[in-house]
Every structure is written in structure tokens, then in C-alpha cells.
Symmetry: C2
Subunit: 432 residues, 2 copies
């Protein structure tokens, strides 16, 4: 009999868990340095909470069920509804509220490259001010996390604005912005012909399709935003205000990160609840799905409560991030303490070995003690296999002479030193 | 319309999430310093995996359901079956394997003090050697984590051994050790009379009940283990071997921790899969359920696979740990970087403020920038409310003179200093 894990789920063994959690920890530290605070929501919520925001389509892709008490519940498929529930159930919180979390999320959909049934998503949100500063900070936080992970230069932040797109679509005579967004959302995945044909079918004015395609095909420097837009429509006061806000947001975001910030009219984000800036981050080589995505969503709190709290945030899944990090040879833990395996060469040396190991740990090192009671040679072999850098040998001779023997497991060289000199010896090894 | 979280689940707001994750991080670091490696299992597993180990009673208390693909699945109610599944599906791993994890677990049972429907459990296991050294290391790790959290002196490790108890029960003429264990497990919760009556009903020899009660009532110093046992039975060779192993384990465990290590014959652990040492850690004041529990379970891998891998481990839930930490005034994050809120007193100062904040973060501080575009006084008030230690004010004057103004939010004192002197000023504040 053997048991297997479920399809679309992962077992994280140490070789993957360590770099994974190291990256999440980096994101955690960056968010904390920005003054964001960590929260954590339940993994199970009332299904209604998720149906409200996302509708039946998302619900059909959830791990939802009726619990033993008869409640319709779901393993959370995204974080935002829970975060907003937590926010709106605490009216005492002074704004802005800046929160982050990195829960596991679950979706019942066909597993494929970059998408699994269970993943970890790093989320950050700012609730309160609807300002370019808040938008810029969210973009800046996302980019700084990627920079700190070591991905600087490897990604591009593609930015757009829902209000801008709505105004442009209206100027072009589109009747229904939401259904046009759904088609624009597919722009990068379908052919030009297919794109045009779907637009025409949706009732989008046929004579303006080429203008819309022109916008889609001209992502670019924020400085050229006005110029590009003027190719397809006149900039009236409303449009001018919207463009002004985007320009301001981008010039502030520029201070946070040297990374590529690009206006991309094809980024609209599938879900319909965004109300302002939207953005996605892509690998510059274009090999993967988006690394993260987010935007401003000012109406969700009203939908879920009697409160009206503007919001901007992003979510970054761990799956695409891992693929990119692996490609860039970043799938490792860059620094950690020196690692010792203490080999116990005699029964009498056991207590002494444990005590020594304790002191090594107290000094900040990683110290394994061999607990196998095998021969010294087997212990040394195992220390090598397990990847320890040094073995420390304690036997009768060491015990008698108050010594320890240190063996460099990469070279096989070893030396015996007096016990009181051990810590200074280790410091000198560390500096090598 | 308002949404509420499900019963028995928690929302962790920052004031609770920070100390919670700080404690888990402490446990993580201690385990890592012992040479344990972190893993992570799926949160959803085949129900069969859990039914196998724990039987139908546990299954009736799970959040289990039939997924959209028709599989019987469960949100994991404990970690061990998944850990052993991961272990046995990788035959290439050199032993010992020393793993830790801290997954969320879910149980559908009536929420009560110390027990919720969702909790986080810190788990650590050693697979491979069945030695006193491995047993001692697991106890030592558990105690060191509690010591490092700051609970030293507040807890007592209550240790027993399943083989010892089986031998003692046999010597007393008990026919069925497992059903006697179930009664012993209730010893601390029921009266002496009830205890005796249940034993009698179970077929336990009536004339030996007083001996068993004598054992139960005499937890104590490991040095007195033989003496206590001799009060109820002769120590034959088998019993002598078992006692010898316990004594050796405890003398090794003693090197790891100065904490209270006590033999307690009433600790048998409800679940039936333990095969050697068992232990639970209790608050010395006896106010709470056990803080953690574990033991040796050498048969589980055989039950789940064709491999025979001895194992010893423990699990520590976060709920009782939090209750104890709160009582001891440890529910806080002891050290963290200095926290600044940068207040932007003029539109022109915005970019400069962002840049300054970035530099503060790069230097290891926590730097919030006020993104509200409110008045300076509103920004200062908010910085205080949000608990920042210092505000840094940047307005036109500061911009012109290349200065920054630092305001101590606890005293209201402020001073303007040249921008280039800022970092050395902050270092001096830090040392105060």
C-alpha cells in the first residue's frame, strides 16, 4: 500500500522549502520595513463571502463543501475578500491600514505550468487614502520585493488604469466596457484577427478596432502616454485628470525602484472589481505567466459592509516566482550560519558532545549531533552526505585532553585544538 | 450585510499576528540550529491516509468532503501522517532525517478553551535511529524552544514510556494494555473513585488498582524511578532494560535544558500508535491543557509503506502556547528596528520624502511614508496613533536647507539636522 499526494498539490522537501520560505521571508521583511503589518485570516470561510465578490464562476473552481454543521464553506481561493472582511469588522482601526499576509490559497482547476491547486500568495494592501502616493507605494513595494529577491532587471511592471480605459473605450464608442475588458484581457493570448473578430462580435465599433489595436500594440514609456492617446482621441479635461494622476503615480513609483515601469493598455485584469490603477509584473523574457498583479479596488468594502474604504493592493503567487527564481539561479538560501555535525566517538563523550553542541547553537551556529551510535567512519560519512561543512569529533582522547578535533568535510583536513580555543577558531573559519 | 468568520476560527490582527509569528519563528530558528530542516505538506490529503492511522473517530472530527473530482479528501487534522507519507515516498533520503514544519491543522470539534477548529502546530520529528540520543534530542528541542521563547521555569516535561507501562501493566495482570491506557489517559480529569471503578469495569485486576494509583500519584525525579517501580513490582531483566533506556534518555535530555524533567506514569497519550517514550509539557501552575506532546512511534511507516523507519517527534499547538505566553507577559515582539513615519509637509517634498524613506529601509529601519496628503498636524497625529516612535518631517524649509526634522513622538521634542548627519543621528538614538 502506498499513499500519494493529491493532484495539483506539492510536497515541499527541504531543498525546496528552504528557498521558498527564504523568499517569502524576504517579502515579509520588505513589507515590514515599509510599515506594513502582518495579519492572517482563516483558511476556511463562508462560501457566500467569496460568491459575493467573484460570482459563480470562481465558486465553481473552489474547494467548497457543506461542513458537518450544514454551512456552505470554502477553502479560500483568494485573500482579498477575507482581508476586507477583517478590515470592515474593525471600525476602530486608524487609516491608512497597511496589511500583508501570505496565506495558502486553493483553486479546483486543471493544474498546468505556473498554476496549481494549492499555492501560497503574498498579499499587500493599503486601505484608506485614494492617492497617487498609495498607488505608487503598492507598486514600489512589489518592485522592491522582487529587487530584494535578486530579480532586479528581470521584470517589467506593466501598468494601466481602469478609469483611463473606460474613458478611452467610451471615447471610441464602446457600449460595454466590462465585456471589452474581457476581450482585451485575452489580447496577448490570441491572434490579432481573433481579437478584432471578438471585438466586432461584442458590438465594439468596427471602425475603431484599429485604434484599440494601436493602443494595445504600443506599451511604452510613461512620458509618451499623452502622445499615444492623442493618436486615437482628443484629451478632454476628464481624460487629462486621469492621465495626470497616472503620470504622478509613475513618477512617485520611479523613486522606489530602478525597474522597468511601462504603460501597457492590454493590462486590464480579468476580474471586474478594479476601479483605478491596475498592474501586472512580467518576466522580461516573456517565458512565464504574470509574476504578480494588483490594482485599486475602491468599491469592495461597500459591497461587503456599510463602510466605504478605498483600497489598493497586489497578490503574488509562489509558483511563477519559483520558476523565475530557478531560471535565474536564485533558488537557494544565500547566507546561513556555518553548519557542524558533532560526531560522538565514544560512549563517555556523549554528554560532552551534547553540551558542546548546545554552546555552538548558543553562539549562532547550526550544530547537529550524531544520534545514531554508529561507528565514527559511518558518522563522518553521514555528515558529508547531509551536507555539513565541518565535523567536530569528540572521543576519549579529546575528552582526556580537553580538546576538540575539527575536520573540514570538503578537504578532509583535520586538526585538534584546545577546547577553550574553539570559538575563536570558528570565527576565523567563518571569515575565510 | 455583514460577514462573519466561521465559529472556532480566528482572525489574526497585527497585534496578535506579530507575537504569534515571532514565536513560530523562534521555534523555527531553534529547530534549524539543531540541524532540523523545514518541510511543508499539502493542506488537503486523501482521507484514507488519515483514516488509516487514526481510525473513524478522528475522521468524524475532520473537515473532510468529496471534492469535485469525486475524491474523499480532508483538510489535514494533524501533521504526522503527511510527514510519514513524504518520508516513505522518498527512499533516497539518508537517515537520520530531521524535519520540522508548522502547518495549519483543522478539526471539526466543539471549540473550547485551548482548542479551536483551526490552529497552527509546530512539529518536529527524527526518523531513523531508535536511540536514547534521538529521544533526548526531541525532548531537548521541545524544551529549548520553550526556554528560548522565555518560558524557562514555567513548564514541566512529564515523561513516561509505553513499553514501560505495558510491562508494568502486564506485571500487574492487566489483560489489555490499550484499554487501560485509555483510562489512565483520563486520570487527571476524573476522581480517584471514578478511576478505580473504570479500571475494575475494564477487567483490570481489582487487587492491583491501588498499586496503579500509587504509580499515578508519584510523578517525580527520574533518579527515583527504580525505587517507585519496586513498590509495585520486581524489576526483571526486561523491565531493567526499559528503565535503563529511560534513565539514559533523561540524563542526556538534562544536558539540553535546565527545565523540570519529571517521570509521570499518568502520561500515556491517547492515540495508540506510540511505541516507546511519550511526553507532554505542562504549565507548572496547571492552568492549561498540555502545551505540547510527543513520543516514539516506530510502527507508522510500516503501516503506511513497505519501509520500517523508527520515529520520534512532537507537536506543539499555538493556542495553549499563546495562553501561557500572555499570562507570562510574553505576548509581544521583544526587539525590532526603530520605526519612523515620514511626514510630507509640501507637494515638492514628496519625491525627496520617498527617497529618504528608501534609504532608511535600506539601513534596516522601518519607514512609513504618510501617503494621505493630509495636513502636517493630521499626519503627526496619525504617526502617534499608529505607534511610530519618531516622525521625520520634510517640508519646503527642510528641502531648501537640505535638512530633516526629527520629532520624538513620545516627548514631542523635535530638532532639525543636516541631511548628511541623519544616519549618525539615528544610530545615536538607537543606542539610547
Amino acid at each position: 500500500m502506498t499513499f500519494e499526494r493529491l493532484r495539483g498539490f506539492r510536497d515541499l522537501y527541504p531543498e525546496d522549502a528552504e528557498p521558498k520560505f527564504f523568499m517569502l521571508r524576504t517579502a515579509d521583511q520588505v513589507a515590514s520595513s515599509f510599515g506594513f503589518q502582518r495579519i492572517e485570516m482563516p483558511s476556511l470561510e463562508s462560501l457566500e463571502l467569496y460568491r459575493l465578490k467573484s460570482g459563480d464562476e470562481l465558486v465553481s473552481q473552489t474547494f467548497s463543501f457543506v461542513d458537518k454543521g450544514g454551512r456552505e464553506v470554502t477553502m479560500i481561493p483568494e485573500a482579498t475578500p477575507s482581508v476586507v472582511r477583517m478590515l470592515t469588522s474593525r471600525k476602530d482601526l486608524p487609516k491608512p491600514v497597511k496589511w500583508y499576509c501570505y496565506p495558502k490559497l486553493w483553486r479546483y482547476e486543471e493544474p498546468q505550468s505556473g498554476r496549481l491547486r494549492e499555492h501560497i500568495q503574498f498579499n499587500a494592501d493599503i486601505f484608506g487614502p485614494n492617492t497617487p502616493d498609495a498607488d505608487a507605494e503598492i507598486i514600489g513595494l512589489a518592485a522592491t520585493i522582487l529587487d530584494r529577491i535578486g530579480l532586479g532587471g528581470q521584470f517589467s511592471v506593466r501598468i494601466n488604469d481602469r478609469r483611463l480605459m473606460e474613458a478611452l473605450l467610451k471615447a471610441m464608442g464602446a457600449l460595454d466596457a466590462i465585456s471589452t475588458f474581457a476581450i482585451i484581457d485575452k489580447f496577448k493570448k490570441i491572434s490579432r484577427e481573433e481579437f478584432s473578430s471578438q471585438l466586432a462580435k461584442s458590438g465594439f465599433p468596427v471602425n475603431r478596432i484599429s485604434d484599440l489595436v494601436l493602443l494595445m500594440e504600443n506599451p511604452g514609456n510613461p512620458a509618451k502616454l499623452r502622445e499615444t492617446i492623442e493618436k486615437v482621441t482628443e484629451i478632454d479635461e476628464n481624460l487629462g485628470d486621469i492621465i495626470g494622476r497616472i503620470e504622478e503615480t509613475l513618477s512617485l513609483a520611479r523613486v522606489y525602484t530602478p525597474s522597468d515601469l511601462v504603460i501597457d493598455f492590454s493590462v486590464v485584469r480579468g476580474l471586474s472589481y478594479y476601479t483605478g490603477i491596475v498592474f501586472e509584473v512580467f518576466d522580461i523574457k516573456g517565458e512565464f505567466r504574470s509574476i504578480l498583479g494588483g490594482g485599486r479596488y475602491d468599491n469592495l468594502s461597500k459591497l461587503m459592509s456599510d463602510q466605504d474604504i478605498p483600497a489598493v493592493g497586489f497578490g503574488m503567487g509562489d509558483v511563477v516566482l519559483e520558476m523565475l527564481a530557478r531560471r535565474q539561479d536564485l533558488w537557494k538560501v544565500p547566507t546561513r550560519p556555518m553548519r557542524f555535525s558533532v560526531c560522538v566517538a565514544s560512549d563517555k563523550a556523549r554528554g560532552y558532545s551534547l553540551d558542546l553542541s548546545k554552546r555552538l547553537r548558543d553562539a549562532g551556529y547550526i550544530a547537529n549531533v550524531d544520534i545514531s551510535r554508529r561507528s565514527l567512519s559511518a558518522q563522518l560519512k553521514n555528515a558529508s552526505i547531509q551536507g555539513y561543512e565541518y565535523a567536530i569529533l569528540i572521543g576519549d582522547r579529546e575528552l582526556e585532553n580537553s580538546e576538540v578535533t575539527i575536520r573540514d568535510l570538503s578537504t578532509g583536513q583535520q586538526e585538534s585544538i584546545p577546547r577553550p580555543s574553539l570559538m575563536s577558531k570558528l570565527s576565523s573559519l567563518e571569515k575565510k
